[in-house]
């Protein structure tokens, strides 16, 4: 039993990391908005989904023009990522304008934003589906293959306890791109003027506005960055898994939100680690649960396993793994 778990462990880690990176970047979108507005932007999962579709559209367009064959795929990829990030970023700003800012102005209860975000999710899902069906006749879109060379890492010959690992070259791409995005974001938040303004607004909105920080603009920028990251991850997702549909945002949104909370919501590094951890946990559970329980519980319990871990973490550390405990002043 143990032998089998160890044998497939490297492969499970690789697969878990792939999924975890996707979770991590989407979780950052949740956490950034939460840090500043204390509101859960449930539409974020669907921004991610829209990003993947925009990416697919751009890719198909470039294919029809003939760019795909004439340019190296890395450049195609960068162009697609850039366009998608900008479009979804602007979309995020638009969503904030339409659905959240009017509520903020009116001092509405915090939870009412939940309703607008659910409304936005429904609208995004259906609008994307309409366009996809109108253009292709099917809303499940398969992307043209990019970076799908198979790679094998034969660690079996070095360490015979492990099986060899196989993965797609897109895994390396996902790995590198997310790390670049995460580092860039960390620099942006911690080193730049706008980042400082964001942190200030997150800490105390009113005081920040007294310090001549344009709070509304900071919120717009937060939405832009969060949504752009979400959209870019959508492209990564499309390239890694090859197929997208308008409903991928829903499940992924829940998972990413879970990841953000696991790491301590509002904390960007926490969201990264929470996402990666959740991906690893899930993959491990899917691969090993039935081996461990001798078939009583199979891979279908992987979400149960992940949620139980989450609940346990929150019981012993109620502010998440990396969150700071807030002492409530009386």
């Amino acid at each position: 039993m143990l032998q089998q778990i160890i044998q497939i462990l490297p492969q499970v880690i690789i697969d878990g990391l792939t999924l975890g990176f996707v979770y991590a970047v989407v979780a950052i979108g949740y956490t950034m908005v939460y840090g500043i507005l204390e509101l859960i932007n449930f539409a974020h999962g669907d921004v991610f989904m829209t990003g993947s579709f925009i990416g697919a559209a751009v890719l198909f367009f470039m294919m029809s023009v003939g760019f795909l064959s004439s340019l190296p795929s890395l450049i195609v990829f960068i162009i697609v990522m850039a366009i998608t990030a900008i479009v979804t970023g602007l979309m995020g700003v638009g969503i904030e304008r339409v659905a959240y800012r009017p509520l903020r102005k009116r001092n509405a209860p915090k939870l009412i934003a939940l309703i607008t975000s659910i409304g936005i999710s429904f609208v995004l899902e259906d609008v994307v589906r309409f366009f996809a069906e109108l253009k292709t006749g099917n809303y499940i879109i398969t992307s043209p293959p990019l970076f799908n060379q198979k790679m094998t890492l034969d660690i079996h010959s070095v360490m015979p306890v492990f099986n060899k690992i196989t993965f797609q070259s897109s895994f390396i791409l996902v790995f590198i791109v997310t790390i670049i995005m995460l580092i860039a974001l960390d620099i942006f938040v911690n080193r730049t003027k706008w980042g400082m303004a964001m942190r200030a607004v997150a800490q105390d909105r009113e005081t920040a506005s007294l310090m001549s920080i344009n709070v509304n603009r900071v919120i717009s920028i937060t939405f832009f960055v969060g949504s752009a990251l979400g959209g870019a991850t959508g492209v990564l997702f499309m390239i890694q898994y090859g197929t997208i549909d308008p409903y991928i945002g829903f499940i992924l949104g829940i998972k990413a939100f879970t990841a953000a909370v696991l790491g301590g919501i509002g904390n960007i590094r926490g969201a990264m680690l929470g996402g990666i951890l959740l991906g690893l946990l899930e993959m491990f559970a899917a691969a090993n649960l039935s081996t461990i329980t001798h078939g009583a519980m199979g891979a279908e319990y992987k979400d149960v396993f992940a949620f139980i871990i989450l609940i346990l973490v929150l019981i012993f550390k109620p502010e998440g793994l990396f969150g700071k405990a807030v002492v409530e002043k009386v």
């Binding site: 509520l103 939870l111 309703i115 109108l134 019981i315 409530e328 009386v330």
Partner: protein, 442 residues
């Protein structure tokens, strides 16, 4: 001037009653004669909302509301072919309204955000489903299953009890976490329950897994087998009335005030001697029990349960009803549940049918991808946004019971002077305005 006069007219009790009676008679006659008219049915239901705004004693409102719902609506709808379909809508509204009232205790009164509320509904549904079908004989060592239909009435209580036990189970880990962390724990709890129910077909077959439990025995009322929506309507109405009675009693009770205190400031509440643990657990348990009861009814009505009815989306839908109606406001929450349910089950279906009719007869040309039959969720999403933006405090916002200190003083010093005689005070004028907008929004 005219407005002032109209105000006065609208404030007078007699003219209100006359107006209301005329409205009810008109709409019920309308429904009676034009059976297919969904409008007449909805307008008749709307009378409950008007009733809520009338200047009548609470007792009179309760009696009239009960009469309209229990006698007038079924009676005037009963003559046409659409009878069962109206009653189905009524039943669903009742089920969701009771559940929203339950969630309202947790979210609205006690301020504990719960994203997995449907789990309790599932627990109630499965409790009846398992024992009222042959399923129980697959794992129970004793007893003869399915249990007969007259045990249904016991199962309503059993469903409530078991659901409240689950509520407490959820409450225990939750007590340590707060705010949005709580939201994710409850979400996780809801998903865990659903996935476990969907997978408990091995090693021991308890829920029959994803195949669901079918052929559930319908309830039995003194030898009459209950199978139609029109009969379930009365069961749901009765439970709903009980639930509503409990909630209105609870709201101003010691426990209710404790919940609100915990919601507004936990630390201050604790300092005032409110036992946090017990108060929060009570909220979870009572809220869950309403859901459990309705789950039992749901299983009996559908005669089939499987885990697809209890997804995370359903939990958010109930939360939407609560928030949309107005958190903490009992009439608001009921209205929210009614609006969302009626929209989803009846109005949007009718609209898409109508659009479809137009496109098949060629009045408007729509490409197939935009087929109106597929647009229900889109329209619903847009409506949610519109509602939330323009009624951001909820359809009927929550109002704390107010004691007007000045009037009390005045009354004490001047003896008796009725405030109704003079021109309306700013306070009542304000109330009036919120009334008109409240009415418009439906």
């Amino acid at each position: 001037m005219i407005f002032g006069w109209m105000n006065q007219f609208a404030q007078s009790k007699r003219s209100q009653i006359i107006f209301f009676a005329a409205y009810v008679v008109l709409t019920s006659l309308g429904l009676y004669f034009i059976q297919d008219s969904v409008i007449a049915f909805l307008l008749l239901l709307f009378s409950i909302l008007i009733l809520y705004y009338l200047k009548l004693s609470n007792k009179a409102k309760w009696i009239m509301g009960f009469l309209i719902l229990a006698i007038l609506v079924p009676l005037s709808a009963s003559h046409g072919s659409a009878y069962q379909s109206y009653m189905e809508v009524g039943t669903l509204v009742g089920i969701y309204a009771a559940m929203s009232l339950g969630l309202n205790i947790v979210v609205g009164f006690a301020g504990l955000l719960d994203l997995g509320f449907i789990a309790f509904f599932a627990v109630g549904a499965y409790t009846y489903g398992i024992f009222a079908s042959a399923q129980a004989s697959k794992f129970m060592p004793f007893g003869h299953y399915p249990l007969p239909g007259d045990t249904f009435w016991l199962f309503i209580i059993a469903g409530a009890l078991i659901a409240s036990i689950f509520g407490i189970l959820l409450g225990i880990p939750v007590l340590r976490v707060r705010g949005d962390y709580l939201a994710i724990v409850t979400l996780g709890f809801g998903e865990i329950i659903r996935i476990v129910l969907n997978n408990m077909d091995h090693p021991i077959n308890i829920t029959n897994g994803s195949m669901g439990i079918s052929s559930i025995t319908p309830p039995d009322f003194f030898g009459i087998s209950i199978g139609n929506s029109s009969q379930f309507y009365y069961i749901v109405l009765a439970i709903f009335m009980v639930v509503m009675y409990i909630v209105t009693k609870l709201e101003d009770s010691k426990l209710g005030r404790a919940w609100k205190a915990v919601r507004d400031n936990e630390i201050a509440a604790q300092a005032m001697g409110i036992p946090l643990v017990r108060t929060k657990l009570a909220a979870f348990a009572i809220g869950a029990s309403f859901s459990g009861m309705m789950g039992t009814v749901f299983a009996a009505k559908q005669m089939f349960v499987d885990a697809t009815s209890f997804t995370y989306l359903e939990s958010t839908m109930i939360l939407v009803m609560v928030i949309l109606g107005g958190m903490g406001s009992v009439p608001g929450v009921i209205l929210g549940a009614a609006v969302v349910t009626i929209l989803n089950t009846q109005v949007l279906t009718e609209i898409s049918n109508w659009l479809n009719q137009l496109s098949t007869t060629g009045a408007i040309a729509i490409p197939d991808a935009l087929s109106p039959a597929k647009m229900q969720r889109l329209i619903f999403g847009i409506l949610l946004i519109v509602f939330a933006l323009y009624r951001s405090q909820g359809l009927i916002p929550h109002k704390n019971k107010k004691v007007n200190a000045e009037e009390l003083k005045k009354a004490a010093s001047e003896g008796s002077s009725s405030p109704e005689a003079g021109s309306p005070s700013p306070e009542t004028a304000l109330v009036n305005e919120s009334r008109t907008t409240g009415g418009v929004d439906l």
